[in-house]
Amino acid sequence: MSLTLLNVIFAVVVAIAFAAGNAAYLVWAERRGAARIQRRPGPNINGPFGLLQPPLDGIKLMAKQLLIPFGADRILFIGAPVLAMYPAIMSFVTIPFSDAIVAHNINVGILMIFAFASTGSMSLIFAGWSSRNKYSMMSAVRAVSQAVAYEIPMLITTITVVMIAGSMDLMEIVNQQSASILHWNIFPLLGNSHNILMPVSFLIFFTCTLAETNRAPFDLGEAESELVAGFHTEYGSMGFGLFFMGEYANIVIGSCMTTILFLGGWSCPFGLFPGVWWFLLKLYLLIATFIWIRWTFPRTTIYGLLNLSWKILIPLSLANLLFTAGLIKVF
């Protein structure tokens, strides 16, 4: 696919619309899901099933005044929410939704997505640092330690998948899994890897996605009970709105990556009608699991979080990496 100007503009518009639309309606889905789990109806006043709630919330947020606290670092303070949103939109450039729907496939797609994803935690640091607020500052410190702790197992697990696929091209990784459900990287039986530890890898990757997107039970950056609202304590108006949307856009990216790396992307489990709908189905099932997990588990402590990463996830992912390398050598 050639990279013409029209192509680029179209891709940008679609990516922003997809990210923003998902962010808006995942908030609705989250609130409805939370309500169902807690046996409430959830937002149901505005429009059928409360479907007009997200645009109305958006209008409310946009109509509010953007206050910058006295003594705050203005440039960083304004820049942080933008930084929260942009990695998610940038990542859509290379994520393939099906073999035809991809803005621009590059042969180091994984690398690019992880490069942008790691700048996502910069937004938390900037916001926490520039707010001139002790709670925000503590939240920034936590965000850094959390990002460091969870990028490692996530990247090691990704390396495992890249080793099996022998490519960093997302299209290529999906194509190698597309033969049948048993070729998916989560299932070890057929395909390149005969690695029985791949379900563990999937769990590690999924856990790290949760932690990377600052979702409960790992949302220590915005632990309300301890840090007021963490890094976005001082933000109002669309500054807060962008953080909020950024969180959901990052969930979409994380779920896209999990789908591509482990669940066979757009390939169908039974070989029927491969296409973008299978990708979207897997994507939204994963997102539903995100929401389900958030409303099931209480927030961990910062010690629990770091212990989980350094004592369990990193050793296990390293062991799996070695095991996979051995298997590749053998077969």
């Binding site: 899901g33 789990i37 807690q38 046996r39 409430r40 109806p41 389900w292 099931t296 369990i312």
Partner: protein, 146 residues
């Protein structure tokens, strides 16, 4: 080393059990009441502010003995009555409840020997003015029968 893997395994299993619990809850019907659109009927023993009890003719049961006024620890109740010509009993002419001071202790209801007072089931009480909470119970009785 064995306990390390055992802990991981049991921890993982407990996570899935927890998710099973919320999965089951997801499909159960909602239990909350959408308050302004639907309301619950109050239980038998619900204590709202006191209300006068009427007899068959729609007149209050009260004989203006004043026991409730004396029983009230916060002096919320002001009542007055008169004896019309040729009648045996006194007739209530005024019954004011100052609900701003009432603590809903129920001493007035307890002290009443003529079944003239009971608790109402009213709970939609909100106002920005103090005067709205000084109830004329006689007027409320008339409004109720009207």
């Amino acid at each position: 080393m064995v306990t390390y893997f055992k802990d991981i395994y049991s921890g993982l299993i407990s996570l899935f059990i927890g998710m099973g619990v919320t999965y089951k809850e997801f499909f159960k019907p909602t239990v909350t009441v959408q308050y302004p659109y639907e309301t619950l009927t109050m239980t038998e023993k619900y204590r709202g502010h006191v209300e006068l009890v009427e007899n068959e003719e729609g007149k209050p049961n009260c004989v203006v003995c004043g026991l409730c006024q004396r029983a009230c620890p916060s002096a919320c109740i002001t009542l007055a009555g008169e004896k019309p010509e040729g009648e045996k009993k006194k007739v209530l002419t005024k019954y004011i409840l100052d609900f701003t001071r009432c603590s809903l202790c129920g001493s007035c209801v307890e002290s009443c020997n003529f079944n003239a007072l009971n608790f109402s089931k009213e709970y939609n009480l909100a106002s920005t003015r103090k005067e709205d909470f000084i109830f004329d119970l006689l007027q409320r009785l008339k409004d109720r029968n009207a």
